[in-house]
Symmetry: D2
Subunit: 309 residues, 4 copies
């Protein structure tokens, strides 16, 4: 284990907590704005539930964009690599995560990658199921399995609030429907997508999901295969090239591990072959990443030589 | 009157009909594709129902984008010049009429002008009324009044067909809703907008509407004021700077009169102080303008010195 | 004559001078920044040197972008309409005058119109001549002829200063050279273009040029044809659709006459069949147009019903 | 060593050579077009000159864009990390390598990363030296040192030919000069940049350079430090996020190693801690990468588990 003890880790957490001051909590929906700006918790999961923690690591938060990489792993299993990447690209972009311009200027119209909103919406649209409800249940079950948490839930208030105000995501969906990148009813897709973003868990559970990716798809307790190895790799690759919004390039240089962040302030980190990391720090920088969370990863990466480069 | 007789005009119509061959009829909805590609009719309205015609001038067609300029005239009366142009710009654009990119890159987000789809949708959203139905009735009544046609109708099949497939316009609406350029229910707005585009009339009636603008808002029969003079001017100005999609600049140079076209193949033309012109020629060039209709206007403009420049 | 006397005109000038306060003088080169911000002069030329003035109408200023429309008139005579518009478009744009993006996204690469910098540079590149010097002499001679000023000169300090700092125009030129829109040596082209922009004259002379366009190309004293009628019309059309940078649409609505402005604060106005107008007011709005100059034209247009719409 | 023998490697080379057929040799300058389309050679360098080869591995080719990553390593040493990234970004982009639009739409104007042309030109502009010649000599000496080749040369014909036709790169330079991202004389910068792209070597030498990066900056023979470790890491990170033009994301998923390609058909590959790889296969895909070279790396990566993800 990297840090010998929870106490070691707590020292670093206390060290970087002040970075929360400069950022701001997401407040585009009231439910997200209710958190304490200086909260900061982290869990590092090795295997067999060997894990160290710091901060209020049992506090729940919503996955938001972190869910994109999990649903991608499911869609790749449901549809295969070729089907998915016929509809969504593999290239990182310097544009903001919610940009629509490139959909218009690309010929054929195709979201650049599955980590921007357009791409993630298209990926959720690919999940198999007879009904929207069945698709949603399959997503929930898959995340439960990764987190080893039998009853994964979602924050109904957050989901409803986002559903009521997600005009930009609707614009992306209708634009993609025009270009046959998504199909079916857009409101149903929006319901599933906003629920997926509102899935809630704590740092420990998120770190365990990270450990699955670190082990290339194996359950860190049972050794059972939860994700095919080639799909785990694809997911980690996207986490490096476009996991941290349009600060992914900078994060790759300064930290150098696969990671995916969400506007709730969560970060899913993966140290290949070694650890899964779960972080919650709701104060965001201007790109939408947890300010203290990123600083924490920078220190850990430097101290314990995490970088894959 | 410019042409001394219908026969004179018919000669020109026959002369330019062949230009229809190179174009294509709009076929994005089945109802629009049903027309005869080489149809070409025209009416030139002077005043007091003094009018000359050629072709099958009683054939009905849908207004499509021509409706944008009529609804703009109503919105300007409903809301005033400042309200309208706080929300929609006055500048022409080289981008296609259905482009969304500029909405994203403009700060604040604002449709460039009321003749592109985004701007027209925002304008329709401004029409006053207690309910969507009342707004629609007011549009219909205003158009009736301009055309002096008591029971203006719309093509239900065309309207429904567009409503079912107008994903791109929905994308524009939701994008503008995000940026507070439009408000209220988007599906209701879409219903009104698709009906407005499906309003049907013939060349004669369209020419009469043109005559109202030519006379700066006066009824060409009764002399009654139907549109305030400053609003009639604003409408004519937009018809010059952006009435013919992104071929407006070329049309201003080659023809030089205020005009507005629609993908049905209709063109509303205005020769200030003199005539209103209505044309129907469904074969379109790649910009979406009636091929034979534009050629017809080029010849008329040259022969009778129509250009305002 | 519109205003009965110089005194009438002076009253309006005094009325709008205060609008200069809110703007700023162009200061990207020191030579331009030396002027007095509240200067405001105007001349309205009818014919046979019948002209009224107000302000310091004999003060020289440089043409800057106003030169674009004059050189276009010469290029159209040198090369013909088809040659010119094969290389430069006819469409207005909502983009800034010095934008390069659209050159990249348009296929084939082609400046949208001759009034933005890219288009104007391409037009200057079309002027006929065995050498760059001959091309320059021909431009100078043509402007002399329009202004009826035997020895038109240019401000050497302004020209040199712009030549030393015009990196963006060089970028546009090299981009167009890549796409074969311009040919030959770029530095030579830059020298001619910066000289053309630095041509100096006063309001009276500028108003006389406006009168040539108002009379569709005829000399307002001798009646001699200086510009073919179809070319005079093309120039006036561009002045309406894109003469006032990306405020052209608004100007068309609020004033409604062909006009071309420059960052020196000059405006060339044309009231078809009637007057040429020359204005100098160096305090600019954020789009680059003379603040007091535009206000002056708004008042004149409303009072004397100048609008062509 | 991965492949036990040259014979093993030759079998793979023969297997993928047919992929050359579908691509095309760069022909924008005559000197580049002279090569044999189906050439394919590769060297894999371990350490102490332990290396296996296949194909005509002693054939020289020019580095082209591969030079970008080498000059970046030097600039980071010359100026430090902060100076460099104040002027050039760290983010990958979905835009083509020679795009200029994003320079205009980004505020402040800043090339997105050092691997696109704009960024690479800015980086070359940062190399220290009293004169352009001294800067060039320092680049040459640094590359010599990495390749352990005392007299690294450049292809004068290629350099001159590119210098004569590189209008787009000049456009990028002048645009950046306007925005103060580059300074000094642009023609001098162009001379250095075109020479740098024309540096020539063979696969063996390129593989040796790769080994330096694989060993995080250490000389693979002497163990001497040639590049500081943090700079070697930065370079490898950019090779992953943006080394293969706008196919970098796809390459990261399919191959998963740091790599940089050039339009000559060269590829520099790095298997961290293990090997440097040099490839020459001049037949390019539409993104500008060696078709057979990429296929070769896909097979090697899969067979010998090269991916860092």
């Amino acid at each position: 284990m990297t840090c010998k003890s929870n106490a070691d880790l707590q020292i670093i957490v206390d060290e970087v907590r002040s970075f929360s001051e400069k950022g701001a909590v997401a407040d585009y929906i009231p439910a997200l704005a209710k958190v304490n700006k200086t909260d900061l918790s982290v869990a590092i999961y090795e295997k067999n539930n060997l894990c160290i923690y710091a901060g209020d690591y049992m506090r729940n938060f919503t996955l938001q964009s972190i869910s994109k990489v999990l649903v991608l792993a499911l869609a790749l299993q449901d549809r295969g690599v070729d089907y998915v990447f016929d509809r969504v690209g593999m290239e990182p972009t310097g544009d903001p995560f919610n940009s629509i311009s490139k959909l218009e200027t690309s010929i054929p119209s195709k979201p650049l990658n599955p980590m921007i909103n357009a791409g993630a919406l298209a990926v959720t649209n690919m999940i198999k199921g007879e009904s929207e409800n069945e698709r949603w249940e399959r997503i929930l079950q898959f995340v439960s399995c990764l987190a080893n948490k039998p009853n994964v839930t979602y924050d109904v208030e957050v989901a409803n609030s986002e559903l009521e105000t997600a005009w930009l995501n609707r614009a992306l969906c209708y634009f993609m429907k025009q270009h046959k990148v998504v199909e079916g009813d857009i409101e149903e897709l929006m319901i599933t997508y906003t629920k997926q973003c509102a899935i809630e868990m704590n740092c420990f559970e998120l770190a365990r999901i990270g450990a699955v990716f670190a082990l290339n798809g194996l359950d860190p307790e049972t050794g059972e295969r939860l994700i095919p190895i080639h799909i785990a790799r694809i997911c980690k690759t996207f986490m490096v090239t476009c996991g941290m919004y349009n600060a992914s390039g900078e994060f790759a240089i300064k930290v150098g591990i696969p990671a995916k962040s969400g506007v709730s302030g969560g970060i899913l980190g993966v140290v290949p072959e070694k650890y899964g990391i779960g972080i919650f720090g709701p104060s965001l920088d201007e790109k939408g990443n947890s300010m203290a969370g990123i600083k924490l990863l920078e220190i850990l990466a430097e101290r314990y030589n995490f970088s894959i480069f």
